[in-house]
C-alpha cells in the first residue's frame, strides 16, 4: 500500500459517486415491483404476462445503474 496518493483517493471517491446512480434505479425497480404486485392482486389470471413485463421493465430501469457501474469501473481501472 505504498502507491496511495491523493489522486487515487479522488478517483475512488468519484467511482463511489458514480455507483450512487444505483439509488434511483433501485427506487424505480421497487416502484415497478410494487405496481406489479398491485396488478396481480387486481387480476391474478394475467400473472405470467405481468411477470414478463415486470422483468423487462426492471431490466430496462437497471440501465442507469449499469452505466454508473461502467463509469466506476472505467475510473478505477483506466486511470
Amino acid at each position: 500500500m505504498d502507491s496511495v496518493s491523493i489522486g487515487k483517493g479522488l478517483i475512488a471517491i468519484a467511482a463511489a459517486l458514480a455507483v450512487m446512480t444505483g439509488i434511483f434505479s433501485t427506487i424505480g425497480q421497487a416502484y415497478a415491483a410494487a405496481k406489479a404486485v398491485e396488478a396481480v392482486g387486481k387480476n391474478p389470471e394475467a400473472n405470467s404476462e405481468i411477470r414478463t413485463m415486470l422483468i423487462l421493465g426492471a431490466g430496462i430501469a437497471e440501465t442507469a445503474a449499469i452505466y454508473g457501474m461502467l463509469i466506476a469501473f472505467l475510473l478505477i481501472f483506466v486511470f
Partner: protein, 230 residues
Amino acid sequence: MWKSEQLSILIISIALASLFWWLKGRLMKLEPGKTPTGVVFLVVLYVRTIHNFVEASMGKKRAPLLSAYIGFVFLYLIISNYSGLIGLKPPTANWSVTFTFALITFVWIQVAKIKVNGVKGYLKSFFEPIAPFVIPNLFGTFAPLISMSLRLFGNVISGTIILNLVYSFTGWVSGLLPVVGKFNFLSLIVAPWIHIYFDLFSGFLQAFIFISLTSIFIAIEYQDEEVNYG
C-alpha cells in the same frame, strides 16, 4: 497477441456455423407431415417460439423477415453470455460486438422509417415540429444505438469484472492457509452463486431485452402503416 475476447468470438462463431450446417442436413431429411424428433423438434420449437414472439409486436406481414434476424441474435447473445461459464471470455464483453448488433438494429429502424415516410418525409421528420428541434431529434435518433449497445456491454463486463475480483479475493484468502492454500477452494463455495446471477440470469435477461427492444423499435416505425392499410 490476440485478446481472449477475439479468440472466443472466433470459437463461438465457428461452433455456431458448424451447428447450423449440421442442423441444415438434419432439417433437409425432415418429411412433411411427420412429427419431428430429437434435435429437429427443438429447432422447430425454437423457430416457432421466436416467430410467435415477433408476430405479437410486428403483425403478420412483417414478421417473417425480422424473426430470422431476431432468432439468430438471441441465439448468439445467449451463447455468448453463457460462454463465461465454460471459461471463455464472453464476446459481448467487447463493445464492438454489442455495437455491431445495435448498429444493425439502428440501420433497420432508419430503413423502416424511410420505407414508411419516403426520403423526403424522413428528412423532414428531423425538423418537426419546428426547425430548432433538429438537435433533440438527432439525439433521439442516435440514442438507441448507444443505449442498446452499452446496456448489454455494461452488464456483461460488470459481471466479468466482479467475478474476476471474487476469484482473486478468494484466492488471496485461501492462500493464507499454509499447505492447501495453492488450491482456490473458497471460490468453489462463493463463485457459483455469482455465476448464477451474472451469467445465467443477467445474460438471459439482457439477451431478451435486446430482442424485445429491437422488435419494439422496428414495430413502432411500421405502426402507422398497419393502421392505414389494415
